[in-house]
C-alpha cells in the first residue's frame, strides 16, 4: 500500500467522522429530549423551557380533534389517579389517537405548565371489555368480598357524581330496573357514558359497594 495514499485516506476519514459528529452534536442538542414520567414533568420546575418527551394515556373527553392546534391531557400510564399534564399539539393527528390511547409526546414545557408539541407517536390501545362473560348485578352481589371479577349493568339515571365522594355512579341489573349496586371509582369515566349506558366494571365488593379498578362501556354502546 502506498503510504502517502494511506495517510490521505486516514485524513479524509477523520474529517468525515469529525464533520458528522459535529453535525449530530449541534442538531441533537436542539432536537433531543429526555424521556420523563408525567409526574416528574409536572413537578420539576427546572424543566420549564426544556424539550421533554412524555408518555401517558389520553384523558377521556379532554380533546377535540377539530381544534387547531389540538389541546388534550395525558395521564401517567396505568395509574388512574396519576399526574396529568396538558398538551398543545400542532400537526396531523395520528389514526390511532383516542381516549385511553398511550401517546408519546415530545415538545417544550412552557411556563404555563403545558407542553407545546409538534411530535406525537401513539401506541395502540389495549383495553377491550365485553359484557359477555361478566356477571350480572344480582349475581355479583352474591359474590364473596375481596374477589375480583367483571360486572355489567346499566347506569341508573342521574346517579353519576363527580369523583372524590363515595359512590361515583350506580348500576342496575337491567335498564331502569332490577337490583342496584354502587360503584366506587375515582378515575375518568369513558367518553360517552351517560344515564342508561351499559357499562362493564371490574373490581371487587367491599362493604356492599363495588370498588372498581376499571370502568368501560360495554361493546354495544360504542
Amino acid at each position: 500500500m502506498n503510504k502517502r495514499a494511506r495517510n490521505r485516506l486516514i485524513g479524509v476519514t477523520a474529517i468525515v467522522v469529525i464533520a458528522v459528529v459535529a453535525i449530530v452534536a449541534s442538531t441533537g442538542s436542539s432536537d433531543g429530549a429526555y424521556y420523563r414520567p408525567v409526574g416528574e414533568v409536572v413537578n420539576d420546575a427546572s424543566l420549564v423551557g426544556e424539550r421533554v418527551s412524555v408518555g401517558g394515556e389520553v384523558v377521556a373527553g379532554s380533546w377535540d380533534k377539530k381544534s387547531n392546534p389540538m389541546r388534550f391531557d395525558i395521564r401517567e400510564e396505568g395509574e388512574d389517579d396519576g399526574a396529568v399534564i396538558s398538551i398543545v399539539y400542532h400537526g396531523g393527528v395520528p389514526s390511532t389517537f383516542g381516549d385511553g390511547v398511550v401517546a408519546i409526546i415530545k415538545g417544550e414545557l412552557t411556563e404555563d405548565g403545558y407542553i407545546d408539541s409538534e411530535d406525537m407517536i401513539t401506541k395502540c390501545p389495549s383495553k377491550y371489555e365485553t359484557a359477555t362473560g361478566s356477571l350480572t348485578v344480582a349475581r355479583a352481589l352474591e359474590q364473596p368480598e375481596g374477589s375480583t371479577f367483571p360486572v355489567n349493568g346499566y347506569v341508573v339515571a342521574d346517579s353519576i357524581q363527580p369523583p372524590g365522594g363515595g359512590a361515583r355512579f350506580v348500576i342496575s341489573e337491567t335498564e331502569g330496573d332490577g337490583p342496584e349496586m354502587e360503584v366506587i371509582w375515582e378515575g375518568a369515566l369513558p367518553s360517552g357514558m351517560d344515564s342508561g349506558s351499559q357499562v362493564v366494571v371490574t373490581g371487587s365488593l367491599e362493604g356492599g359497594s363495588f370498588v372498581a379498578s376499571d370502568v368501560s362501556l360495554a361493546e354495544g354502546e360504542q
Partner: protein, 692 residues
C-alpha cells in the same frame, strides 16, 4: 394443540444442539473417520427445518380453525370480512411478537436447510464449520421462543373462553395491520433478516478453518444480495404502508421500528461491495468479515428494538431479563468472536489491497463502507439512546446526518464505476465523465426550475430564515444534481457498453443492451440499482424537504369549499356503511379543481373498528407526476369537517426509483452460475459491463 407446537419447538432446539455437536465432533475425528458423524449434522439441520415447519403449521392451522385456546390466536386473529380476510389468517402468524419470532426462526431454518442441501455433496471443512455456526444461531432463536414471553403456544386463560370454545373477551389483530402491504411487509423483511445469518455463518466458518480465499464469498454472495434485496423490499413496503395507512402523509419518520429495518440494509450495502472487491481483487477481506458480522448483529439489534419495546418504553424489558441476556449475548458474542478470529487469522486474511491514490476504485469502495458504517452507527446510537437514559431524538437530528451523508454517499456511488482500480488517470477519467456531466447539466435545468418555482416558495414558509434556510436549499440543489449525476452515469454505462459491444460483435444496439443485461448480471444489476438510488434521491429532496401541510375545517354543508395552493375542494356529501362485523366505514366525497379545471374527486374516509375500538384514517391521494395531493378526513364534529391536506412534491419518484432498485438487485441476485466475464483480469481498468 399448543403442546404439539411446543413439542416441536423443543425438538428443533435439540436438533440444532445435536447438529452443532456432531459437526464439531466429526471435524475432531478427522475428515475420513468423522464423515458419518458430520453427515449426521446435515441430516439434523434438515430435521430442525422439519420440526419448525410443524410448529409454524400448527400455529397457522390454529388461525384457520380459529382455535381460541391459543392465546396468540385470540390476540392476533383478524375480524376482517373483506375478500382479503383469508390472507389475514396467514398474516396473523406474524402480526404479533411471538408469532413473528417463530416465523423468523422458521425462515432461518429454511436457509439452514438450503445450505445443508447445497453443500451436502461436498461436506468440506468450510461448509461444515459454517453450518455449525449457523446452527448456533438457530439454537439461540429456538431457545428464545421457549421463553414464556416469546412463546406463541401459550394457552388462553380459562375465563376467556365460553363452553363451546367461543371467545368471551374482545381482542383481535390490530386493524392497522389489516392492509395488503402488511401481509407482505413482515415476511419480506424477515426473509432478508434471516438470510443475513448466512454470510455471517460463512465468515465465521472461514475464520475457523483459516481459509482466506474467496471461496466462502462465492458460496454466499448471491444469498447476501438476495437477503439485501428482500430487506429493501420490506423497507419499501413498510414505507408504502406508513404512507397509505397511518394517515400522517409521510412515509418515513425515523421511528425506532423503521430505523431497526434500515440498519442492516445500510451495512448490507457495505457488505455487498466488500464482497465485490474480495471476489475480483482479493482485497477488503477483513472488511467483508466485519461487514458480515456487523450486519448480522444489527439484524439482532433490529429485532430487539422492534419486538421488545425497549425504546418506546424504558420499562418494557425489566420483566424479561432472560430475553435481554439472550439477545445481548447474540449481539456481543459475534462481535467478540470476530475480533478474536481476525486477530488469530490475521495472516490468512491479509488482503491484496492496493491504495495508490485517493481517487481510485478502492478508495470509493472504502468510503462506501466508512459512510455506511458511520450512518448505521449514528442511527443505532440515536435510536437506542433513550433505552440507556439518554434523550430521544426527532427527525431533525436524523435528517441532519442523513442529508449530507446521503448526498455525499450517492455521489461516491455514482462516480465509482468511472474510477479505475489503484489510481485514476485524469484524462481517462474526464473522457468517461464527459457525457454524464453534460447530461447532468441538461437534467439540472428542469430540476432547478422546479425547485425555484414549486419548492422554494414552500421553504420560505416552512424553514427558518438565515443559515438554516440557506443550508436547506443548498442540500436540495446539491441533492438534485447528484441524483441527476447518478442517473446520467448509469444510463451512460449502459449506452456505452451496448455501443461498444454492438460495434465489436456487429450486433444491433438493443440486442447488445439485452445481452449485457442478461449476461453481466451482477454489474448491470448494480448499475440499475444505482440508477434507482439516483431517482430516489431526487424524490427524497422533494418529498422529505418541501412538504406543504394545511389543516383546515369546512362547514358540513354540501357545496362548501376549501383551497390548498391552486386546488379547490368542494364538499359533496358523506356515505356511511356498516359492515357485517360491525365495523363502520364513512367516506366523504370532494370534487377537486386545479387552476379552475376539474380534475376529479377525492374520497377520504375513516373506518371505525367495532371489536378493536379503534379508528383508521383512509387517506385519498391525487397522484401527479410532480406531486401527490394527500387528503385526510380528520374528524366530523358539530357542524364542521376537519381536513388535513399535504402536498408532497416528487414522492412518486421515490416509488419509481424503488422499483428500479428492486429490478436491479433482483437481476444481480438471480441464481445462476456466475458468468466468467465478470471476473475481470486484475489489470483491467474498464468499469463498464464487458462483452463476451
Amino acid at each position: 394443540m399448543t403442546t404439539l407446537g411446543n413439542l416441536f419447538l423443543g425438538l428443533a432446539a435439540l436438533g440444532s444442539l445435536l447438529a452443532i455437536v456432531s459437526l464439531f465432533w466429526g471435524r475432531a475425528m478427522g475428515a475420513k473417520d468423522g464423515e458419518s458423524v458430520t453427515n449426521l449434522g446435515y441430516y439434523l439441520t434438515f430435521g430442525v427445518f422439519g420440526a419448525l415447519t410443524v410448529s409454524v403449521g400448527t400455529l397457522l392451522a390454529a388461525f384457520f380453525r380459529e382455535d381460541f385456546t391459543f392465546q396468540y390466536v385470540v390476540e392476533n386473529h383478524s375480524t376482517d370480512v373483506s375478500n382479503l380476510s383469508w390472507l389475514y389468517k396467514f398474516s396473523g402468524v406474524w402480526a404479533g411478537r411471538e408469532g413473528s419470532l417463530l416465523f423468523w426462526a422458521w425462515l432461518v431454518a429454511m436457509f439452514g436447510a438450503y445450505i445443508a442441501w447445497k453443500r451436502m455433496s461436498e461436506t468440506d471443512d468450510l461448509s461444515n464449520m459454517s453450518l455449525a455456526v449457523f446452527n448456533i444461531v438457530q439454537l439461540f432463536f429456538t431457545v428464545a421462543l421457549v421463553i414464556p414471553l416469546n412463546n406463541p403456544f401459550k394457552v388462553s386463560p380459562a375465563e376467556w373462553l365460553g363452553a363451546d370454545g367461543e371467545l368471551l373477551i374482545s381482542a383481535a389483530m390490530n386493524p392497522l395491520l389489516q392492509h395488503w402491504a402488511m401481509i407482505l411487509h413482515p415476511p419480506t423483511l424477515f426473509l432478508g433478516y434471516a438470510g443475513m445469518a448466512v454470510p455471517f455463518a460463512f465468515a465465521m466458518g472461514a475464520l475457523i478453518v483459516g481459509d482466506g480465499s474467496k471461496r466462502w464469498v462465492t458460496l454466499v454472495d448471491r444469498i447476501a444480495v438476495f437477503s439485501w434485496l428482500f430487506l429493501g423490499i420490506g423497507i419499501g413496503l413498510g414505507a408504502i404502508w406508513a404512507y397509505v395507512v397511518l394517515g400522517w402523509g409521510g412515509y418515513w419518520a425515523w421511528d425506532p421500528v423503521e430505523n431497526a429495518s434500515l440498519l442492516p440494509w445500510l451495512t448490507g450495502v457495505g457488505l455487498l461491495h466488500s464482497f465485490t472487491v474480495y471476489r475480483r481483487r482479493g482485497g477488503f477481506k477483513k472488511w467483508a468479515i466485519w461487514m458480515s458480522t456487523v450486519s448480522f448483529v444489527l439484524v439482532i439489534l433490529g429485532t430487539f428494538i422492534t419486538r421488545s419495546g425497549v425504546v418506546q418504553s424504558v420499562h418494557a424489558f425489566q420483566k424479561d431479563n432472560l430475553s435481554l441476556w439472550l439477545f445481548g449475548a447474540m449481539m456481543v458474542l459475534p462481535l467478540v468472536g470476530t475480533l478474536w478470529g481476525i486477530m488469530v487469522r490475521s495472516e490468512e486474511f491479509k488482503g491484496a489491497d492496493e491504495f495508490d491514490s485517493l481517487v481510485s476504485k478502492e478508495s470509493s469502495y472504502y468510503f462506501n463502507n466508512v459512510l455506511m458504517l458511520l450512518a448505521a452507527f449514528f442511527v443505532a446510537l440515536l435510536t437506542m439512546a433513550p433505552a440507556f437514559g439518554g434523550k430521544t431524538y426527532g427527525p431533525a437530528t436524523y435528517d441532519s446526518i442523513a442529508r449530507p451523508v446521503g448526498i455525499l454517499y450517492v455521489f461516491i456511488m455514482a462516480v465509482c464505476p468511472l474510477l479505475s482500480w489503484r489510481k485514476t488517470e485524469g484524462p481517462a477519467f474526464w473522457n468517461k465523465a464527459k457525457w454524464p456531466l453534460v447530461s447532468t447539466a441538461i437534467l439540472s435545468v428542469p430540476l432547478l426550475a422546479l425547485w425555484y418555482m414549486k419548492l422554494l416558495p414552500v421553504a420560505r414558509r416552512t424553514v427558518e430564515a438565515g443559515f438554516p434556510f440557506l443550508l436547506h436549499n443548498f442540500y436540495a440543489i446539491t441533492g438534485m444534481m447528484v441524483g441527476a449525476f447518478a442517473v446520467s452515469i448509469s444510463v451512460y454505462l449502459f449506452v456505452e457498453g451496448a455501443r461498444k459491444r454492438a460495434a465489436a460483435k456487429g450486433e444491433g444496439f438493443f440486442s447488445s443492451l439485452g445481452s449485457i443485461l442478461t449476461t453481466a448480471r451482477t454489474q448491470s444489476g448494480g448499475y440499475l440499482t444505482h440508477l434507482g438510488i439516483g431517482i430516489i434521491l431526487i424524490g427524497l429532496v422533494g418529498s422529505a424537504m418541501f412538504v406543504d401541510e394545511v389543516l383546515t375545517t369546512v362547514p358540513d354543508q354540501v357545496g362548501s369549499t376549501f383551497e390548498v395552493q391552486n386546488y379547490v375542494f368542494t364538499y359533496q356529501g358523506i356515505v356511511e356503511n356498516e359492515l357485517p362485523n360491525g365495523d363502520v366505514t364513512s367516506r366523504l366525497t370532494f370534487d377537486v379543481t386545479k387552476n379552475g379545471r376539474p380534475i376529479g374527486t377525492v374520497t377520504p374516509g375513516q373506518i371505525s373498528f367495532y371489536r378493536q375500538q379503534q379508528t383508521k384514517l383512509e387517506a385519498s391521494v391525487i397522484v401527479e407526476p410532480l406531486q401527490d395531493v394527500f387528503v385526510v378526513f380528520q374528524n366530523f364534529q358539530d357542524a364542521a369537517i376537519s381536513m388535513q391536506v399535504k402536498i408532497n412534491p416528487l414522492i412518486s419518484w421515490v416509488w419509481v426509483g424503488f422499483v428500479f432498485t428492486i429490478v436491479g438487485t433482483s437481476l444481480a441476485a438471480w441464481p445462476k452460475k456466475q458468468t466468467l466475464n465478470l471476473l475481470e483480469p486484475a489489470t483491467s481498468t474498464k468499469a463498464k459491463p464487458k462483452k463476451r
